[in-house]
Symmetry: C2
Subunit: 230 residues, 2 copies
DNA sequence: CGAAGTCAGAATTTCGACAAAATCTCTCCC
DNA sequence: GGGAGAGATTTTGTCGAAATTCTGACTTCG
């Protein structure tokens, strides 16, 4: 009757369902970097044949979340601290460029959306528990929306898609490091400062603040990752 | 006996071979944008089964060169003038950011490689025929290398890979427009100016020149594309 | 004792057939 | 004459098995 019968399981095809699940398993860190992905085991584990599984893996490889070795199957993409550095730099460069262009081109609607996104983000608690950190899915969603809203007026769809992908890869590193990311750091203030600079059309400051925002998180994650993997 | 028996046909797997051929057919414009890609026809045409073909298509879809419609197969990705605009903007933003960082971080080896790449490019003729334009594959290869050399020191592998992808998509639009790209325009001088600014560590000027370089080409292509497709 | 060659075992890749979904066509009814 | 609906056709998505390739251990030779 209703269009969205169930929030889960409404995947039109098995391959896409497997792709989504596998992707989430890699991003959340449940599948360790470098892990060999044996087709037979996966097929059994996810309850699908070889064809959809292979298609999902192929897609993941194209996205950079898996690695393909011809005639030797697939592996979960590596995730070394040294690679994290390059990822952060890519993110900073791409997002700062998009942000500056967004500030240059953004109209009133962009400003409205940005203000709204920040307000919604501030209304929520970052942690579900005030004593120890417990991810708040709603906050995460609003956080994503806020950062997207910042860049959205840049008029470069491919670049935005690229930023989304880097964001996801960064999420993977965060999950791998298991960084609590709840240090003495006023994230809300950082967001407010970035939004303020953007709304003031101060591209230089906004970009610098955004870069700091990412580099700081990156440093935490990198430290934690390095400590645990030598 | 020799490691590289033949320059062609050394594809380890059928799926990758088909992927490469299909990719080239899309990039070169032989397969029109929006064209329906029927699995059976393709399989027959490329001499492969459904499995490798499907895998190749899936990969192309992830790269953005094909479009997937669940339960309705694949199509060649659209290519409208309006999308070209966004592509150019993405390219300019991404490459300028990479170039500026490259100029900031580049060492002596980077300078050497850049000088070398420009020299090799200048040694070749852009057209094989001096009367009417005929693509010179060697020049194209050196041109690619030159632009890669510019960005290579930025230390952001993902961003570089992204730039490569955008470059390919741009090549597709050029092929579709069939732009002769041989107008009264001193491309060599433009390259020289960009290289000079980069070697002088003048990031602002270099980025501005690079942006002009792309926007100018984009304008030509867009005009030709718009004229032909309404 | 070390290195190259060889041979089973395991895994990936590919093929052909089956099932499910979408598109098309033709008919029937308003 | 036009639109809706049922059936046939085409096309996609999936499965299980065959063919090719890689891995690892054992043997043999220098």
């Amino acid at each position: 009757m209703s269009q969205a019968a169930s929030s889960e399981g409404r995947d039109p095809t098995l391959a896409t369902a497997v792709h989504r699940r596998l992707r989430e398993d890699i991003l959340s860190g449940r599948l360790a970097p470098g892990l060999k992905l044996k087709l037979r085991d996966l097929a059994e584990s996810y309850g699908a044949g070889a064809s959809p599984m292979r298609e999902a893996l192929s897609k993941l490889a194209a996205e950079g979340l898996a690695e393909r070795l011809e005639h030797r199957g697939f592996r979960v993409a590596a995730a070394a601290p040294s690679q994290l550095e390059g990822l952060i730099r890519s993110r900073v460069l791409a997002e700062c460029a998009a942000l500056q262009e967004s500030i240059r081109l953004g109209d009133a609607a962009w400003e409205d959306a940005l203000v709204l996104a920040e307000h919604r983000l501030n209304r929520l608690a970052r942690s579900l528990d005030s004593h120890r950190f417990a991810t708040n899915p709603e906050w995460e969603a609003c956080h994503l929306r806020f950062h997207q809203a910042l860049l959205e007026a840049c008029g470069a769809p491919q670049l935005l898609a690229f930023c989304d992908r880097l964001r996801e890869e960064a999420r993977r590193y965060r999950a791998l490091a298991n960084t609590v990311a709840y240090p003495d750091r006023d994230v809300a203030a950082e967001h407010a400062a970035i939004a303020r600079a953007a709304l003031d059309r101060d591209a230089e400051t906004a970009a610098a603040l955004l870069a700091q925002h990412y580099e700081r998180t990156g440093a935490f994650v990198g430290a934690d990752l390095g400590r645990r993997a030598g």
